[in-house]
Amino acid sequence: MRCVTGSTRVRGDALLQVEALSVALGPPASVVHAVRGVSFTCEAASRLAIVGESGAGKSQLALAIAGLSPTTAHVSGRVLLQGRDIASINASIRREARARIGMVFQDPQSALTPHLRIGTQLIEALRVDQRLTRSEARWKAEQLLLEVQIPDAAVRMRQFPYELSGGLKQRVLIAIALSRQPQLLLLDEPTTALDVTIGGSLIQLFEHLSDTRDLALVLITHDLKVVRRLCTQTAVMFAGMLVEQGPTQQVLDAPLHPYTHALVAATLSLDGPVLAEPDVLASDRHAPGLGLVGCSYRARCPRALSVCAHKTPAPISMGERSVACHAPMRVEQVS
């Protein structure tokens, strides 16, 4: 019941296996390597967080896992859901695999079709691959709305998206994501566009759904507080690569990668010290696509060695964790 991270682990019957997944976007002349060789494994009913700054490739990773990369993107590597390839040539295997993944998007304002009633959209989702009559689908749709804790489900069914608040829209989107009984919910910054109290109640809902439905969660977020509360496992993404993976508590309390350290140090807390070194994260963004050789964090890394410039660090396993760095921090405490 937990995420095993690291590319070298056994394949077994893990719920989600991502193997050397890469996504390249844009025309060949100015290609952007949004995701570069990401591998991880996620067990059933586990909760994994993927954190990292804007432009790190988190959303492209999520889209690629769901098989929704833009048609112009070049995707390589494999995504297996219970051993079924989501990019399989066999359409029924592909559909079966994708049906097991539900996706919740960042902006609930734009993820619902504006001219269709809430009920219509839910029923459409329910009837995509389940043989249901209209009244059965309507009944199920109301049950789903109740499950995501929307009161007056019958009234909401008849409303249009613009009549709902942002938090309610996000709940409707969660209900739609649940309509095909997924085993994995991909949450792409689900609370970013909402205010903090609404976001907090959604996190509670995710926790509840994960427990009651045995759902695995992959949460993409900036918010380390949410990560600590919700996720048992954390993967840190930088410039398209997973630089550190492991149990949340270990990763956030004792970072191994200098980037994770900077990320954690950048979080303000009410009772903690005032930010000591704010310039580490504020410095120039990395330019994805440039410098494919060597560690992409080296320009901002206070610990950079000469080896970092010409050799891309491979993930090293350290106990339950793995880190891709030539000069990891606190090696002595871990090993």
Partner: protein, 272 residues
Amino acid sequence: MRVAVPLSVRVCATVLVVVASASVVLPYLSHWQAATLDWDHVAVSPSWSAGHVFGTDRLGRDLFVRTLAGVRVSLAIGLLATLVSVVIGVTVGAVAGFLGGRTDALLMRLVDVLYSLPYIFFVILLTVSLGRSPLALLLAIAAVGWLTMARVVRAQTQALRQREFVTAARAIGVSTPAILWRHIVPNVAGPVVVYATLTVPSLILLESFLSFLGLGVQEPAASLGNLMAQGAAEMEAAPWMLLVPGSFLVGIVLVIGILGDALRDWVDPRAR
């Protein structure tokens, strides 16, 4: 959901319905036929006493009946040609814009080729091969009318394709035709309605232009176009021959424009 219908829309819809049904019904009820000649009243100005409310033309044909017959022909050709061009244009534009790639390139080059054909040449070709019938005229007008519509819809679809709700629909496994039909096409309805209301009058004008050239509706049948062409020739001596069909054309164009505007507000749920 009940929506209050503005007064302007009710008035315009009433006017359009009254004129359209009058143009269908009245010519049959009238004492005069569109082609009967009244030798006692040649080129008389509008008068009740002579029995010609809108006067007669230089052959003594009743202008009231001829104008209504012309309204019928012009409206029918304008609306049908618009309908045909909307259907073809939306289909081609949405498919090209959504699928992109090779399909898009192929369909849009077809549009470019048809654009670059001089449409008068195209119309002459069609009317020669199909005969000078209103049907040939309709086909010819529709064949050029859908091109701009396809481009408008394609551009809209390309913008919509990027929107998150399309990705969300794909995420729950909705098929491509269903996404196009249920999620994309209703969202382009606003621009399509607005553009179609611009198309109706312009196609009515195109029809009258072609009729004027002798390629469209032929004498003794009437359309607003050939009536106005005849009227223009007699403008100084008999201004009513131009003014009567002219004001019908202006009125119809205006009424359709106001209706289109209201329809756009109704199609867009946020404007409610």
